[in-house]
Amino acid sequence: MAVVETRHLTKIFKQGEAGAVNDVNLATREGEFLVFLGPSGSGKTTLLRMIAGLETPTAGEILIGGRVVNGLSPRDRRIAMVFQSYALYPHLSVYKNISFPLKAQNVPRDQHRAKVEWASGLLSIGHLLDRKPRELSGGERQRVALARAIVREPAVFLLDEPLSNLDAKLRASAREELEQFHKNVRTTTIYVTHDQVEAMAMGDRVVVLHQGVVRQIGTPKEVYENPADTFVATFLGSPPMNLLEFSDIIVGFRPEGFLPAELIPGGRQVTFRYRVKYVEYLGAERVLYGNIEGSHFESKEIISRLSWTMPYNYEAGSVHDFAIAESDLHFFDRQSEKRCNPKPYPWQ
């Protein structure tokens, strides 16, 4: 077990161009499941590959277990990595795939079988040991890749979008298994994903990245409820947070907090006349798209998300009183787009 830390870590691929990773400072906690979340091109994979030793940083330091590892090759960093493509060795059987790290690290041969059986048992792939990777399904391949990663009990696990090649149904169960697996082994894990659901569900903490910059580090609850800036606010949550721009501040509120006025529990609230333009029916919920009437935000599309349990009579074209509880409002500075203190806002 070990803690991973980066100090001013920067990667610039082409001189003169914007860096893929810019001045990233972060530290995992012991045994933590840390998620790097960001859209494609946000530098999350590059950051992970630098920690793995597959890319050389342009500047900054990487520490694993308190030791600077910049100069160490991947094999000397005591890490294990699961790639998006799994990168199984196609010419080797599952058994040999899993025992490869043992062989490569000169673990005495008589220990191999026991360790492979332990790892494959943990992931319940014991019956697949004689197969070749091409004879496995996507889910089985993913487990073999995981087994190969844990077999030598690394200090840190690095997972690069390991679920993105699975179909939606399998992904949900694989996610659950992965969580369970982490609970069992308790190895510090860094997990890269662009899927906010994965990030929220699995992460002890989430690092939100955008254009190679860390926008926020926090628990899923923190990044969702107290986004540090407008990027985090709109990137997390689906549909994204509604943002209203005023002269010096931006006010945001989540679609699920923007509800028919009569459904908002007592307390201070802000009420609007809301004209519904069109409705998406999603089964468990309805997503309403519309405008706020009689304000200078008329042209701005505002989204509301209603649970299927709520009474429904919001046809397209109709106008209703919708409201947000004041406590559900988020305030951001107009210039820096960073979170700021609540201010009196001009609609009252």
């Binding site: 294990a80 990168a87 060795y89 490569a104 030598r152």
Partner: protein, 304 residues
């Protein structure tokens, strides 16, 4: 509309057996005339006493084969062909594997180096080999001149690259390798660049160093393509006579005489067509075995 039309047309082509035969025909005619005809003629001659300049032809049964099998020159040629083929193929495969792995990594000037390496394959064989004949000449050899300048030899005991039996064989093998390595490298490059880059990366993270990644992961994954390169190299080497013919014509003392060159020397230059044909037929069993493996691999590649 145009798309629809084209579709109908191509469907018609697939259904019409006549069109298929017409498309396939030229290839068949070509193979029959250029390869099949001479091959049958060689078998025919091998059982006769055909000679250049004689219009008479008699069936002599296995007489040609019997006399060839008893000829020391033939034994020497078989032995030389084996040495020539095995050593050239080994060198070609090792060098082209190294080159392809080296050329895979991007570096400054890679394009130019790839081009230069391919050059010997593109240049006409005869021209390249004549160039080598001068480079290895007993009087004008550049190599000799360099070695003499460096005081390894004096001009009086300098090596005769094409005039001493072992050296001559080594020279022939080297020149042939020079010609064949580019081709094998291109084949190997296709194989090595087909390995996803995550796989060697994963091996590195799993703890394998450069050599282990090379011998446990990269080369085993390239094995199918290495097989292709080996089989092609065997065919190109075993049947080749250009390099031998131009550099040494089998000499000195038959030390570089290979089967194809011996067949040519006996059948055409020595005007004993029957014996030449019989000698060339001894190439067939080896080529059949190689062809069998090639077809098997092509079939496997199709399945995958």
């Amino acid at each position: 509309m145009a798309v629809k039309h084209a579709k109908v047309k191509s469907a018609g082509a697939a259904q019409s057996p006549l069109l298929g035969a017409a498309m396939f025909g030229p290839a068949l005619v070509y193979i029959a005339l250029i390869i099949g005809g001479p091959f049958l003629l060689a078998i025919f001659y091998a059982f006769s006493d055909a000679r250049i300049g004689s219009v008479h032809l008699h069936y002599v049964g296995l007489e040609n084969f019997r006399s060839i099998l008893h000829s020391p020159a033939f034994h020497q040629a078989v032995q030389n062909s084996i040495v020539f083929t095995l050593s050239a193929v080994a060198i070609v495969v090792i060098c082209s594997t190294i080159l392809s792995l080296a050329l895979e990594e991007p570096f400054r000037g890679r394009g130019i180096i790839r081009f230069l390496i391919l050059l010997p394959w593109v240049a006409p064989v005869s021209l390249g080999t004549i160039g080598w004949k001068w480079l290895l000449d007993s009087i004008y050899s550049v190599f000799t001149w360099i070695l003499v300048s460096l005081h390894f030899f004096t001009i009086y005991n300098a090596p005769m690259w094409l005039g001493q039996p072992h050296l001559a064989m080594a020279s022939v093998v080297c020149v042939h390798c020079w010609r064949l390595i580019p081709f094998a490298t291109v084949v190997m490059l296709a194989g090595s660049s087909a390995i996803p880059k995550e796989i060697p990366e994963a091996a590195g993270i799993d703890g394998a160093g450069f050599w282990r990644t090379l011998f446990w992961i990269k080369i085993p994954m390239m094995l199918p393509i290495i097989n292709v390169a080996v089989l092609f190299s065997i065919i190109f080497t075993f049947t080749d006579m250009t390099v031998v013919y131009i550099l040494t014509d089998g000499g000195p003392f038959d030390s570089t005489q290979t089967l194809p060159n011996l067949a040519f020397a006996t059948g055409i230059e020595g005007s004993d067509l029957a014996a030449g044909a019989a000698i060339s037929l001894f190439l067939v069993p080896v080529l059949v075995v190689v062809a069998y493996f090639m077809l098997r691999m092509a079939h496997r590649a199709e399945v995958v």
